[in-house]
């Protein structure tokens, strides 16, 4: 279901807007229009729709107009022409108080530099949206505290933003947006100011959150990796134009033009994912302690049919299967060593995924990931393929 529709929206800054708009209709380029009229095109005839409950990422480099575009969506900036429709209603047709109502109830924004009010406590920041709506003190406090609790920030509620780290500040920014319970979240480079590790955590948190709350999220980024990681669909912008809209896979496999292709190639080269990133937690049995009964019990618990075998130092020894364990248990054996299999391939945890793709597809068993001799994780075909699809490593489409 369409939640938000952007219909031929153009934004022009500067003078001679009328004549610049005519040139837009004639499909003149951004630089040509600048030269002829002196007007700058922020957003050039953009059209797309965003479905309810999806994460729609708008990706572009600086100056591509993505920040202008997201501000057009809640009319912080008025479009020069075209319409923004939310649930079928055109924002341009609304008067000030109707527009305020939309901003208060339907869409909340998260900012690149967090946009927290330095003179207000974390709680008062989180309450802001509810406060301007005129919600009673008790109710807004309850809602804000709930939102902070969900973000794990309740203990900090009486502190000021400057006392929190960047990652925590942005969690407050997100909590403030969610306290309003909007349908749409606008996130303007929300994670760009954070350092890479925290950024990845925040991306994961956003994805987890989306599972729970199912908002419609419009996310701006300049980072294709981030776009691919979190976006259900991605729009790529350049010079104010939307060049391509599609799933991450569409964009990697069928780039609309050279510009998009150069981006995706860049991703392939830069993003060197190691098996460490794709491995999952191994479910193991200790060869020196555990017998077949324990092994069977653990398999039932974890719902698997294969266990990796390690010794006390967690050094990889091999694997056992459910069938073998069952038979050994019937025979009354006390140790798993009698039916331990050792033909499972191992790879070092710092190997590139590309380099183990062959092994994965040939091997009948999962692959053990080790660091030295120590068991670190396990590679399972499905998970590896999934990680390739979402993180776009390998770039097989281009080769």
């Amino acid at each position: 279901m369409t939640k938000l529709k952007v219909d031929h929206v153009t934004k022009i800054f500067g003078k001679h807007i009328g004549s610049a708009l005519k040139l837009v209709d004639q499909k003149k380029s951004k630089t040509e229009i600048l030269k002829q009229t002196g007007a700058t095109i922020g957003v050039y005839d953009a059209s797309f729709t965003v479905n309810e409950g999806e994460i729609f990422v708008i990706m572009g480099l600086s100056g591509s107009g993505k920040s202008t575009l997201i501000r057009l969506l809640n009319h912080l900036i008025e479009p020069t022409s075209g319409g923004i429709y939310i649930d079928g209603e055109n924002l341009s047709d609304m008067n000030k108080s109707q527009l305020r109502k939309i901003r208060r109830e339907k869409m909340s924004m998260v900012f690149q530099n967090f946009g927290l009010f330095p003179h207000r406590t974390i709680l008062a920041n989180t309450e802001y949206g509810l406060e301007v709506r005129g919600i009673s003190k008790e109710e807004r406090r309850l809602k804000a505290e709930k939102a902070l609790e969900n973000a794990g920030l309740l203990p900090y509620k009486d502190q000021y933003p400057s006392q929190l780290s960047g990652g925590m500040q942005q969690r407050v920014g997100l909590a403030r947006a969610l306290a309003n319970d909007p349908d749409i979240l606008l996130m303007d480079e929300a994670f760009s100011a954070l350092d890479p590790l925290i950024r990845k955590d925040m991306q994961d948190e956003l994805l987890d959150l989306q599972q729970k709350v199912k908002k419609t999220i419009i996310f701006i980024t300049h980072d294709l990796n981030e776009a691919l990681r979190i976006g259900d669909r991605i729009a790529i912008m350049k010079d104010g134009k939307i060049i391509q809209v599609g799933t991450g896979e569409d964009i990697l496999t069928n780039p609309a033009n050279e510009y998009v292709r150069s981006f995706t190639e860049d991703v392939d080269r830069s993003k060197v994912i190691t098996v460490e990133k794709a491995m999952i937690r191994p479910i193991s049995v200790n060869v020196e302690l555990d017998g077949p009964k324990v092994a069977l019990q653990r398999m039932r618990e974890e719902e698997v049919s294969v266990l990796l075998a390690v010794d006390k130092k967690r050094e990889f020894k091999g694997y056992i299967t459910a069938n073998d364990a069952l038979e050994a248990s019937k025979r009354g054996e006390k140790s798993v060593l009698g039916f331990l299999k050792t033909d499972m391939p191992t790879v070092s945890s710092d190997t590139l995924i590309q380099d183990v793709l062959g092994t994965i597809s040939d091997s009948p068993t999962p692959i053990a990931v080790v660091k030295g001799e120590r068991l670190e994780g396990v590679l399972i075909r499905g998970v590896v393929i999934e990680s390739l699809a979402t993180s776009s490593v390998g770039g097989d489409g281009n080769e």
Partner: protein, 282 residues
């Protein structure tokens, strides 16, 4: 060439201003009379009240306020006690109280007028374009000039003194309010807008709190400027320390002039440090 220039008749600027002034004085005289009598009695009342407070109590109160405002440091408190005792010792206590009344009245009126004008200016480029040159004009015009309309409107006394002081002291508050609001980071203004704040909500909940310290710096300047008008205003009969300076000047009494001037400086330092430390407080 000279002849040619001389042939241009002199523009009647002075005459026109005078005509306007005459018109104002004759048509609005009842209003001016009302302000004059009302203001005079209000200020006399306050001065009488201040004089009634036992000087030692007054000094202790000022010292306590200084102590608390400077976050429990003794420097300003000690300075206040010593300075005020000196003024009392020199027999200038009543003059000081008159000066305090004048400065407080002028500052409060300047703030009440100045802050809203500053806010208005920050919200509109157009308003800024018109008001800025007027402020420049008000600040560069010598303070003495304001005495002339002040006398025309209100006669002599403390009310015209306040009137002239307000005009002279108003610009910093207006300018700093404008500046403070314009300096609020754009992202915070956007955040406020994006959550559906009305203009007033944005102003009260975000812009004014964030501009507060800049506005306070402007108010500090306004207070000091109105203090600097004290001597000038004494020329039209405003009582206070300024009158002592003026009379010492007229009689060429260097010693008396020095004492009165020093008293003004002491008062200025106390009031400056006090308003500044109020600003630093969270």
């Amino acid at each position: 060439m000279n002849n040619f220039l001389d042939q241009i008749p002199s523009l009647p600027v002075a005459d026109s201003v005078e005509t306007i002034m005459d018109w104002l004085t004759s048509h609005l005289s009842s209003l001016f009379d009302f302000v004059q009598t009302g203001g005079q009695s209000a200020m006399d009342g306050i001065t009488d009240l201040l004089v009634m407070i036992p000087p030692i109590l007054f000094i202790l109160i000022v010292a306590l306020i200084s102590f608390l405002a400077t976050r429990k440091k003794f420097g300003l408190a000690i300075f206040s006690v010593v300075g005020l005792l000196f003024i009392y010792n020199q027999g200038l206590w009543e003059e000081l109280m008159n000066t305090i009344t004048l400065v407080i009245f002028a500052s409060i009126i300047a703030i009440i007028i100045g802050v809203p004008i500053g806010i208005f200016m920050s919200k509109s480029k157009w308003a800024e374009g018109i008001i800025k040159p007027i402020l420049d004009f008000m600040q560069t015009m010598p303070g003495f000039v304001y005495l002339i309309p002040a006398v025309a409107f209100f006669g002599i006394g403390v009310v015209p003194g306040v009137f002239a002081s307000v005009i002279f002291a108003l610009p910093p508050t207006v300018r700093f309010t404008n500046l403070g609001i314009r300096q609020v980071p754009k992202e915070l203004v956007e955040a406020s807008d994006s959550y559906g704040s009305t203009g007033w909500q944005k102003l009260y909940k975000v812009e004014l709190p964030l501009a507060k310290s800049t506005i306070m710096a402007g108010i500090n300047q306004t207070v000091l400027l109105s203090l600097s008008m004290v001597v000038i205003a004494s020329m039209i009969g405003a009582p206070g320390l300024g009158r002592e300076v003026l009379s010492a000047l007229q009689r060429a009494q260097v010693g008396n002039g020095f004492v009165a001037g020093l008293s003004l400086v002491i008062f200025a330092i106390i009031i400056d440090r006090l308003t500044q430390s109020l600003n630093k407080k969270k």
